[in-house]
Symmetry: C2
Subunit: 226 residues, 2 copies
DNA sequence: CTCAAAATGTATAATATTTAGCATTTGATC
DNA sequence: GATCAAATGCTAAATATTATACATTTTGAG
């Protein structure tokens, strides 16, 4: 954790301002109210999406009403890039959390710019590779860490991809599914994190009280060796 | 699983033949005997590596002798791409499995070709995004599936990234760490998979008896809803 | 071929986690 | 501000998993 420190700059911030502007010029800004479906698993139409405001939850809706969150994305983060390069349907459901605005860019418009501007592929690769790295860390946490540590680390990771937001809007049951534990076990872990004042448990939300302290706690308790 | 079917073509196979040739022309072919360290976590020198023959295990060596495998890579698969775009040290240890030859390409040589040939960024993005997808599936398996199913799915995934190899060279204890369970639990799962003749348990290896049957079994038992 | 080291096989007690149930709190709506 | 659905809080029995221990098998070195 101390050895390799991840840059949390979202995709949009990695582009040179001129290119970012040009890319957004090709987009349509779409508004969503709280909890609306932005994309559905299986959908075929390819395109890139970028969060303008609000937040998006990426995950998979189970038939039984469960929702397993894979990531919570804040301002400047992108999603849908998988559809641009693979000719495959969407792998995840994406929903808006709160009032949310998303830039939607069709594959054809994206492609025209991609050919001209090498900075786009570099930014996208950096974003994707960073996410791969985060996923590997998450995977590692899931394998190695007890529930308490796993919970803390997941909360920290989500807080990063959400940008500067100071609370995570999520139900305990959904968070529990995302962590691969039951609600009972998660509640126990959350209570413990709340008791040392790293977080505050709300109704349908988790408030981050002190992100730096949380980061330190995670580093101390979840490190590998370095 | 049936909805979204992943293309297992390795990185090298995604490049137009001319570009692949040119890229390998910039590389140095390095030989490794069984179990040699190819890269170490924390190493700073950036560069791309491509498996020419043999196989490479990517993971993290614990101080206590444990090794958590993140992936097993066969012919044509690449690794180290993270170092090309992030200016960060390597996040994983990579070891050779059996007699292995690796094409090593320095960052500077890679960059010169990257600028000229857009097909490289496309291939790399496709590879990386596919891996992200595989990681998300693995993550999902780890959260949702019981040990037996998780074991089968992981074995199948590894068999894909290994190419046409018909056995996975790995100790049960390492595989157990990779699955986040104890050796005892893994042994139980392996025994069950062996009893229905999907695999064969060897000494320091798992043999794939019928990859298609394994794929069908995984699809039947590990699917989401589609 | 023999032997030692390494890896797998297996049993049992201890522990962590889940399941299932009901109680309590919260927030939105009328 | 009363009411109801949704979400969280909590408990105890049932279950899965781990830790620990030791036996057995396999491989490779001499």
């Amino acid at each position: 954790m101390s050895l390799i420190d991840i840059d949390a700059t979202p995709f949009l911030g990695l582009l040179p301002p001129r290119v970012a502007e040009e890319l957004l010029g090709l987009s349509v800004l779409v508004k969503y109210s709280n909890g609306q479906l932005i994309h559905t698993r299986g959908e075929l139409k390819p395109g890139l999406s970028i969060v303008h405001s609000g937040a998006a939850h990426v995950g998979v809706n189970g038939i039984d009403g469960t929702f397993v969150t894979a990531a919570a994305l804040g301002q400047g983060e992108c999603f849908g890039e998988f559809t641009l390069f693979t000719d495959l349907p969407r792998t995840h459901d994406v929903s808006s959390i709160g009032e949310t605005q998303i830039y939607q860019i069709s594959k054809s418009k994206f492609d025209s710019l991609y050919e001209r501007e090498a900075s786009i592929s570099r930014a996208l690769l950096k974003t994707t590779l960073t996410r791969t790295h985060i996923l590997l860390e998450t995977l590692d946490a899931l394998r190695r860490l007890p529930i308490l540590e796993r919970t803390a680390k997941t909360l920290l990771t989500m807080s990063y991809t959400l940008g500067r937001a100071d609370s995570l809007i999520i139900k305990q049951i959904d968070l529990a599914y995302s962590l691969g534990v039951t609600r009972v076990s998660l509640a126990k872990a959350l209570k413990q994190l709340a008791s040392i004042e790293l977080i505050e448990i709300g109704y349908g939300r988790i408030n981050f009280l002190d992100r730096d302290a949380l980061a330190r706690w995670v580093q101390q308790h979840c490190g590998i060796s370095d």
